[in-house]
């Protein structure tokens, strides 16, 4: 047990706390459930420490304020939930095209459309396959606990600055609303690295810095895209992160991220009591996807079960990594429902044939793609 004082903190507040500890002093956002406490927290906190919080008139406006502050060299954040993140996609593409660092938080809710305010993971494709236009990638981090939200926010700002690229941190309604203990570390604030490219006044420079995503000559733009490709390859090689849980002797590997990964761990504990050797791979980076870990597991395990709060999105990346070596099953609850430990356990028993006769019974509520 740690000796630092601890407080119970909501996940949404932890996103804000993590941003503050990362040295972020500029946030532009528009409220939306289930992430509003994040904006609340920073609207109060940032002015106390010399920062700025602006409630923009829309998410389109917020992301363009982020564009401006990032160009000026600030560690800058915006946050929203699914529909609001959709509105930001054009701006995110521009920021990626302008080679600017920023952090975007998406506390995902049930969709499509206005959907509902319940927890969901249906924005996986949008986050990892590039929701905006053009050949860009963004780093996507997926914490699974309130303390890890703080850790991931600090990492997000560091990665954004290291690669001059947007980083998205995804949560869901459960993660945003739940409270867990976090340690209070007074005075610990990081600072951004020097940004000689920033448009922060010409100063002693011979010529002004210019930030733009306009590349009108196709040959120039191709060269720019190829440079991006080199960077994306470097990120794919160097930044894959995941947690492996009871994986060493696992015959069945569950793959899940965020809140669902916690359900998956409970499922594995219960399955092992029933004699099923199961483990979990929890992707922490959704992009780059931790394909190396999945490939290693595919060499040893008999089968995979991907569990998501969606119709099945990350399951495609698992299948790409497994490359047909082993069966990859899927269980999901779309639209704002969280898979329960019991129903995933039933699915585990069904696909491993432990529950007699269960093989023939289709999952009651899940969707097997």
């Amino acid at each position: 047990m740690s000796h630092l004082p601890r407080v119970l903190m909501k996940g949404n507040e932890a996103f804000g706390e993590g941003a503050v500890r990362a040295g972020c002093r500029h946030t532009f956002a528009y409220p939306i459930t289930p992430q509003s406490e994040l904006a609340h927290f920073l609207a109060r906190r940032l002015p106390e420490i010399g920062g700025v919080f602006v409630q923009a008139e829309s998410e389109v406006s917020a992301i363009n304020m982020v564009f401006g502050a990032a160009a000026a060299g600030a560690r800058v954040l915006t946050s929203s939930s699914s529909p609001g993140i959709s509105l930001m996609q054009e701006g995110i593409s521009y920021i990626a095209g302008a080679r600017l660092p920023c952090v975007i938080v998406n506390v995902m809710r049930g969709g499509p459309g206005l959907g509902n305010i319940a927890p969901a993971q249906g924005d996986y494709f949008q986050a990892v396959k590039g929701g905006g236009h053009g050949d860009y990638c963004q780093i996507v981090l997926a914490p699974a606990s309130v303390p890890e939200i703080i850790e991931m926010m600090i990492l997000a700002f560091d990665l954004a600055d290291r690669y001059r690229n947007p980083v998205m941190v995804v949560g869901d309604g459960v993660l945003g609303q739940m409270m867990e203990p976090v340690e209070i570390e007074p005075g610990e604030t990081r600072t951004a690295p020097a940004k000689p490219w920033a448009t922060d006044g010409q100063g002693d420079r011979p010529a002004p810095n210019i930030i733009s995503s306009l590349n009108i000559v196709p040959e120039d733009n191709e060269r720019f895209n190829l440079d991006l490709a080199v960077m994306y390859a470097e990120i794919r090689r160097g930044e894959q992160r995941c947690e492996e849980y009871r994986l060493d002797d696992a015959e069945l590997v569950l793959v899940a991220f965020g809140t669902v990964a916690r359900v998956a761990k409970a499922v594995v504990d219960r399955a092992r009591r029933d004699g099923i050797r199961a483990g979990v791979i929890r992707p922490i980076t959704l992009w780059p996807f931790p394909e190396d870990s999945v490939k290693r597991a595919a060499a040893r395990a008999d089968r995979f079960l991907v569990v998501e709060m969606s119709l099945g999105q990350m399951v495609e990346d698992v299948r790409l990594s497994v490359e047909g070596e082993k069966p990859v099953h899927f269980f999901g609850r779309p639209g704002g429902l969280v898979p329960t430990v019991r129903e995933v356990c039933n699915e585990v028993k069904r696909i491993t044939g432990v529950m007699p006769g269960a093989e023939d019974v289709p999952a009651a509520t899940g969707v097997d793609r």
Binding site: L8, P34, V263, A266
Partner: protein
């Protein structure tokens, strides 16, 4: 040790803050804790509930779908969640507002006249802490002293004058619970 507790009632009965109180108290005792609210499109006077998990090892799922303990402050909560309590578990209900329905053969069901005791204390709003006290007294899952200590975490500075009434609620509830049955959790 892993205990999953569901607290449910009308909005305004204090179930959210009572759940936080339990989580804070567990945290002070060095346990792993998680608190999770229902946050649907609820309205004043509607139902509210939260789940609290206390564990001596890392908490995997913070979602309380198979509670060992239900604290039901009103009739809709009792009817909605009583059947979800796992065998060997406990239901504590506010007998002023709940009429026990159904059969729960493997569950200890305890009625606590929390409203009456809260009125005796002089503040009906401490009723939820009477029942929490009863649960603590019954189970010994945490100490009453930790719960009393955690009042400072849950009540904002301008509500600290409510600490004595809440303390009395916890202590009188605990005394009631200590005489009420076997240990749980």
């Amino acid at each position: 040790m892993l205990v999953e507790i569901l607290l449910a009632g009308f909005g305004g009965q204090g179930v959210m803050s009572t759940g936080q109180l339990l989580a804070y108290a567990g945290m002070h005792e060095g346990l792993h804790v998680a608190w999770i609210p229902s946050y649907g499109p609820e309205m004043r006077g509607g139902t509210a509930n939260c789940g609290v998990t206390l564990s001596d090892t890392e908490i995997s799922s913070p979602l309380v779908t198979e509670p060992q303990v239900l604290i039901a402050m009103n009739q809709p909560s009792f009817e909605k969640y009583a059947g979800a309590v796992v065998p060997g578990g406990v239901i504590l209900y506010n007998s002023a507002l709940v009429k026990e329905t159904g059969e729960y053969p493997e569950v200890l069901v305890v009625g606590v006249d929390a409203n009456r005791m809260a009125e005796e204390i002089g503040n009906v709003r401490v009723a939820a802490n009477v029942i929490l006290g009863a649960y603590i007294g019954l189970s010994g899952v945490i100490s009453v002293a930790s719960a009393v200590e955690a009042l400072k975490d849950v009540l904002p500075p301008h509500r600290r004058k409510l600490i004595p009434a809440n303390r009395e609620a916890l202590e009188r509830g605990a005394a009631l619970g200590a005489g009420g049955g076997r240990a749980v959790g």
